[in-house]
Symmetry: C2
Subunit: 365 residues, 2 copies
């Protein structure tokens, strides 16, 4: 360990090398497979996973959700009682707030995501707001804290993973309590038996293994709310909280890969490029551009499966022999566009700079 949050590694080809701890996290946490980007719904078992501590193996029959703190009518619900609530299913694209961190320089020491920390699932559960209302929060409530069963240490601080939302967040966001994923029961690694889904926000808000909702008459001060998931310019800066997903796009890598470099090999001729684009807060994607031979070209948008789901895109490319660097960038309906290079912040959050793909084109046979 080092006092600096940045990697002290050597530079090779302009990129700082990675520490053993970062590689340990990359082995443990799972990125999506970019070749599945043509699926509306990320195939079972390939959704990204970022687990702060250990996955708790909880028993659904024994699990309860406790509404506690500044409520006039607090209660506790079993899973049977929760699953008897009005049921909704909706596709939601989740992305880890640290996606793209490995593209920053200097690179903060944490999970070194490149591009793959994203996925879209059909989540089944019940809206949160009516249950909060039923517990009758005091008018003085400032935050609702959502506490998971996962527990461990971060920077020497022991804590259960917890996050908060304000009463306004709960009223305005389509937050769900979720027990199903893609038509099947939630799996342990995705938060079974019960998790939060906060559509349009980065994944840290969608607390897994949810055990307690606590109404607070002050702002929640949990480690994962105030010590991390903040946009901080420097040490000592309290920063701004990480919330809504920033606009982003990815390309399904064309052709076939090289095993080690993941560079792509494509025969010369016409190739249909495709991928996905998404933004936060349910804001639609307005435009996807693809960099071909040095110029940006507009891709066709192929629609989205729901307000909080990613949008498909595609464009034809006439591949000519040689080495090409392709890229894609999205713009959302609020005019937010992906930058060409990373904006820096101390924790390495929300690097939505463009996805670049190296493609070798051979002479056609």
């Amino acid at each position: 360990m080092t006092d600096s949050p940045f990697t002290p590694g050597a530079t090779r080809n302009g990129v700082r090398e990675f520490t053993r701890e970062e590689v340990g996290l990359a082995n443990r946490n799972s990125g999506a497979l970019l070749e599945t980007l043509d699926c509306d719904i990320t195939p079972a078992g390939t959704h990204y996973l970022l687990t702060h501590f250990d996955v708790p193996m909880l028993s659904a029959p024994d699990h309860v959700l406790e509404f506690a703190g500044a409520f006039d009518a607090p209660f506790t619900l079993s899973m049977d009682e929760i699953m008897a609530q009005p049921q909704v299913t909706q596709p939601v694209t989740l992305e880890c707030a640290g996606n793209g961190r490995a593209g920053m320089d200097p690179r903060p020491l944490s999970m070194p995501w490149m591009y793959e920390a994203v996925g879209t699932s059909e989540w089944t559960g019940t809206p949160l707001a009516p249950l909060i209302a039923r517990a009758k929060p005091h008018d003085s409530v400032q935050d609702f804290a959502f506490i998971g069963a996962d527990f461990g240490y971060d920077k020497g601080v022991a804590h259960a993973f917890g996050r908060s939302l304000t009463p306004q967040d709960v009223a305005e966001l389509d937050v769900m309590l979720v027990w199903g994923m893609n038509g099947a029961p939630l799996l342990p690694q995705h938060g079974a038996p019960l998790r939060l889904i906060v559509p349009g926000w980065y994944g840290m808000a969608s607390v897994k293994w949810l055990t307690k909702i606590e109404a607070l008459e002050h702002r929640y001060q949990g480690f994962q709310q105030v010590e991390t998931y903040r946009f901080r310019a420097c040490e000592g800066d309290p920063g701004q909280p990480v919330t809504r997903i920033h606009v982003r796009s990815l390309m399904k890598p064309p052709g076939v890969p090289d095993w080690f470099t993941r560079d792509r090999w494509v025969p010369a001729g016409r190739v249909t490029l495709s991928g996905r684009a998404w933004s936060g807060g349910g804001v639609p994607i307005e435009r996807v551009e693809v960099l071909l031979s040095g110029d940006w070209h507009d891709a066709a948008l192929t629609g989205r499966a729901g307000r909080y789901a990613w949008t498909g895109w595609q464009i034809d490319w006439t591949a000519t022999p040689g080495l090409h660097e392709l890229a894609c960038r999205a713009t959302d309906a609020e005019g937010n566009r992906q930058p060409l290079s990373a904006a820096q912040n101390l924790g390495g959050f929300a690097n939505n700079s463009v996805h670049r793909v190296r493609v070798h084109v051979a002479e056609s046979a």
Copy 2:
């Protein structure tokens, strides 16, 4: 890229740092979650995944398996025809031949597995040998090549993933053609609709997305058979093929983790340590020892679910305040025992040196 197969990285705390390509592979490929080691069967969606190229999304109704080459009675089978064969289900522990590579120094440049490239599933399929016999291989056949639908480049060589087994291997190993995993249809990333399972051998032999079995009157010269998965001492050494799994054990990390270092925190007092041990070729585990306070202690073995499945073990430990390095090592019934440090080979295969776990023990409350 470099001409050397070894990482050129700087050394930090005695460990060479990792390259961007290695981290890209670690993001893409998935290790098991060590906290699930107390499960006989690795939970759905958490089995390790090592994908050389891209996952092909194949259509089961259109899929056929072709028996070709030096057969007197070659044929082609649809998935319906294959699934009408006699059905067997057995638990098999699979391990990637590269598991432990990141513990080597110098470290070969490839997927930097630490400990997690292992899992146990209930595989459902049909024995391979009767189908090979039905196709009537010529007496002169030296190898059966098993070809997958996955295709890409490695060291500039374009190829579909392929591996071979000799007629003797097919007769002696309980090789299966598999379409089911843990009672469900095989998922695309695990080789759907049809894969090989070669119990007791490292995972590279269990070819996924199987399309063709070719009988050869010479030894198979495919890239994945002759250019890699060899124990080579130096460049130019043809080496010996990687085949049977080497004896190994892992510990379920006790207590709770630190997010970044994955060090463990345990309260003082009695702790039951547990884990898994396995060896290749169906050879049983005879002994598991655990390093506690500088001495090796015998753990109790808790049995295995099948001839090719890992064995459970457990032992009680009285944790005293301070920092401890625990370790476990297994010995199989042929007397093979895990080494304390890695044996070196050029490709970084079969590093079965002992699993070490750092544990901080706090004063009890």
